[in-house]
């Protein structure tokens, strides 16, 4: 390498850096000048102003936590309230020796690792001289022990706060959700201004979905303090704005009637106001006590809940996926009519089984000896499977899929609390995409009676039933009536139904309950007429249902009992869907639950 080039570069490059340094110096000079100007402004020009402020500076600003909005049922009965409770709080700046103090407090009251961890997290984030909660919900004994010893520990206070309480305990756990203490992850996403001083946030259900309305707006107070930081008096107060109360569509009586009718069996009940989509009852049994979660559930209690084979934390009404069984038949019948595959009076002969052309395999009817010649009315009333095998075969899976999609199967209902499952509405395209397999004709047959791949949530069944009761007019279910929930992102489309077809279907469903041969005739009421459909879903064919333990194999193999219905049949006001897990036949297990719910709502008395 010729050396003169290097030397030339060197001179050029050092000149370049020199130029750049001079430019940088100019910028540095300007910035320092701005800084000196700022200091002069503060320390010379505004000195008198700030001197006075410093002299009067005995003022501390504290947050005033807003009261969380109540949650009410449709008649104003309180489902979630706030009760006073005492908590142990520390002001770190006033504590002499944090480790010793924490150790000493640990002798007086129980302090867990989780308490300490949360305390340290809040401490790192909170401004100086603010009280930080260490323990919530002190017992009477702990309060007494603290009262005697507190003078020994500066910076330690006992504060009265308002705690969330759910008076009905487990009954509304899955309908309302619950609040819990703000955790480290939530600290990252919550507005630090709005949540200054707040300790709890909605974790699930209505409490989470309506957090913005329930929380309220934080207030401030200016407090005069002495040189040690002790408060002397309140100077100014900007009151917090309490959270908004929510009036839900829920009805305590209807909810309790549903729980009582389930009588300890596992299952779900969803009842919907046909007129406005308000959810009258949303039950998933068994349930957990949401009050356990408000202050952080103990490890033992949580282990009990998660280990339970009955899965009390699982929200069956929104997330449980069940084959709809024969409850899907009224919808499949309408699909056949709408597509012209069957006529209203067209009869098919039911010998007790069905065979595809050229195949050996026999698809059985639930009634071994067969139903004989049946039309659509008879097929719904007696729940004839063979009629539906033939109907589904001629309709084909994709036309069936498209029609049922109009009733909300296979997608979220858009309920205002979220957290629901999609269910599954199969089609040939779905099977190719999800399983990379072609659709087999036999699978269409069992889809026609609500078995096979199809899965629905109890909420979806209730919404579809309500839509049917409205003559196909779509609706979005809602738990909250006031304030008005946000409009759904994708409003569902209504399904146009021929009046004759509708009349036929309503008549058949009414005869399911009130007809001589109806599968649910045991629940017929004199006070009003019910239109309904029973269903029985086979469990053992469904591979996903693996959560049941081996000890329960016998029960595990039993069918799920289902019932959907609306009433009064001539002017529908309530639509109900019931699933009783492993309850056996729908007419025996699920239908009476629906009757109890309807009675409570329409008649006001229990069956």
């Amino acid at each position: 390498m010729p050396s003169h080039i290097t030397i030339k570069d060197y001179i050029q490059e050092s000149q370049l850096t020199l130029n750049r340094t001079v430019l940088a110096l100019a910028v540095i000079g300007l910035l320092f000048a701005a800084l000196v100007g700022r200091l002069t402004w503060l320390q010379v020009v505004s000195h008198a102003h700030y001197r006075d402020l410093a002299q009067d500076n005995r003022v501390k600003i504290e947050p005033l936590v807003p009261t969380r909005g109540l949650i009410l049922d449709r008649h104003g009965r309180r489902l979630a309230v706030n009760l006073p409770a005492f908590s142990l709080e520390l002001t770190p700046e006033l504590v002499d020796d944090m480790d010793t103090t924490l150790a000493a407090l640990g002798q007086l009251v129980e302090i867990t690792e989780a308490d300490l961890e949360r305390f340290e997290g809040l401490r790192a984030r909170q401004p100086k001289f603010e009280r930080i909660p260490l323990r919530f919900r002190l017992s009477e004994d702990e309060l007494a022990r603290l009262a005697i010893n507190r003078h020994r520990y500066p910076g330690v206070d006992v504060q009265a706060r308002l705690d969330r309480h759910y008076p009905y305990g487990a009954a509304f756990a899955h309908a309302l959700g619950y609040v819990g203490r703000i955790n480290v992850q939530e600290l990252q996403t919550l507005d630090p201004v709005a949540y200054r001083g707040s300790t709890h946030v909605g974790k699930l259900g209505v409490e989470k979905a309506y957090e913005a309305q329930l929380h309220g707006v934080v207030g401030l107070q200016e407090v005069e303090v002495n040189a040690q930081g002790r408060e002397l008096r309140v100077l100014e107060r900007e009151a917090p704005a309490p959270g908004q109360d929510l009036r839900t569509a829920l009805d305590v009586d209807v909810q309790m009637a549903a729980i009582a009718a389930l009588d300890g069996r596992r299952g779900a009940v969803v009842a919907i106001d046909v007129k406005d989509g308000g959810v009258l009852a949303l039950v998933s049994e068994p349930a957990h006590d949401p009050n356990l979660f408000v202050h952080g559930i103990s490890k033992k209690d949580y282990a009990t809940l998660t280990a339970s084979k009955a899965r009390p934390l699982f929200n069956r009404a929104l997330v449980g996926r069940y084959p709809p069984g024969s409850t899907v038949k009224p919808f499949v019948g309408l699909a056949g009519l709408a597509n012209g595959v069957i006529g209203p009076d067209q009869r098919k002969y039911c010998p007790g089984f069905y065979q595809l052309e050229g195949r050996e395999h026999k698809y059985r009817d639930w009634k071994k000896q067969g139903h004989g010649p049946v039309d659509l009315h008879d097929a719904i009333v007696q729940s004839c499977d063979v009629y539906y095998y033939d109907l589904a075969h001629h309709l084909g899976i994709d036309r069936l899929h498209d029609y049922l999609a109009g009733f909300g199967f296979g997608r979220r209902s858009g309920i205002d609390v979220g957290g629901e499952s999609n269910g599954l509405l199969p089609s040939s395209a779905w099977k190719r995409a999800a399983r990379n397999q072609p659709w087999y004709p036999g699978e269409t047959l069992i889809a026609g009676i609500g078995q096979g791949f199809m899965q629905t949530t109890p909420l979806q069944l209730a919404v579809a039933t309500a839509q049917l009761a409205r003559g196909g007019l779509a609706l979005t279910p809602r738990l909250v009536l006031e304030p008005e929930p946000p409009a759904p992102e994708r409003p569902p489309a209504s399904v146009p139904i021929d009046a004759k077809h509708l009349e036929l279907t309503f008549g058949a469903m009414t005869d399911v309950v009130h007809g001589l041969r109806g599968t649910a005739r045991r629940i017929a009421s004199d006070a009003y007429r019910i239109a309904g459909k029973t269903g029985t879903a086979q469990v053992f064919t469904v591979a996903q249902e693996e959560e049941y333990e081996e000890e329960e194999v016998a029960a595990h193999l039993r069918d799920h009992g289902l019932f959907i219905g609306f009433a009064p049949a001539d002017d529908p006001r309530i639509a109900v869907a019931v699933v009783v897990e492993n309850g056996g036949s729908g007419s025996r297990s699920a239908a009476p639950v629906a009757r109890a719910v309807m009675d409570r709502y329409l008649v006001g008395s229990q069956w």
């Binding site: 370049l16 940088a24 000196v36 200091l39 630090p192």
Partner: protein
Amino acid sequence: MSAHEFAEDRQAPTLIARFIQRAHIDLPLLVTVLLLAGLGLVVLYSAGGQDPGLLQRQAVRLAAGLVMLLVLAQVPPYLLRMWTPWIFLVGMLLLLAVLGLGVMGKGAQRWLSLGPVRFQPSEMMKIAVPMMIAWYLAEQPLPPRPGRLLAAVLMIAVPAVLIARQPDLGTALLIAASGFFVLYLAGLSLRLMVAGALAAIPAGWALWTFGMHDYQRRRVLTFLDPERDPLGAGYHIIQSKIALGSGGVYGKGWLNGTQSHLEFLPERSTDFIFAVYAEEFGLLGALLLLALYIALILRGLYITNQAQDTFTRLLAGSLTLTFFVYVFVNTGMVSGLLPVVGVPLPLVSYGGTSMVTLMAGFGILMSIHTHRRLLPT
């Protein structure tokens, strides 16, 4: 007798001068650093509520930093240059290791435990990134060609993004700045810089509109306008301005600051120590402190332009300019000129994961200046 004394008198300065030369010490730099650190201890005594323990711990850190400074001053720049890619590589690996551990620990993780010593790889990168960029750009004539420029930007961006994900946005931005300063000194086209700044406006708008959650937007708003959060960041700034303003021209006197001693001023030993100082020593004290910082920066820029090769020149310049950024961001924040960012006042604030790094930087500056040779002309 008198002749003997005379001889000693004459010998003494040369001995010291010789020692200073042998020990590769740059006297102006060392004296300024010591003056600043000493002033820092004085302020800290007041800010920390006259706690001798606090003072002792800070003194120990300072001593460790000085040892670091003196050791690095002995390392000739050619060795540093030789090690640069390896130092950068090791730093990157440690950063990745920390990130991996952080993922496993489900939270912020900046520390790596090496036996009893806890170690922050992001601190190492504060020096390693400008070294690497300087090393890379010095290989070819300046100003760098577009391809090299792009590679250099990547070498800055990758560690900066890794550190931002720890998450430690403040350090990430400082490291990005130190890398940028090397590019700037290497002759990065001013037009390109202006174009980049202009391009940032629509990019920022797009990020704001499409790339942010509501809560993130609220954070940004609170950051830009602390008064929005009168209980948090806003409270800090209000109290800090009262401290500065009430200090006036002459100050309230050492240990007499009411804002700090009545505990209205938050973070008074660390990020807001400048407010304590300016309350007690007034505008005059503040100007003295700024003058010391300016002296240090001027010395650094002088060393930069006396440096004999491109690598040392770029490195020295970047270290000096980054030091200025520290000083300005902290004092600007305390006086309410800039948003609240957690950057300590260098050499003065208590705590000092960054103290050792700063001292290492000054050590490198000294080494660059004291290892110069006479050039054959």
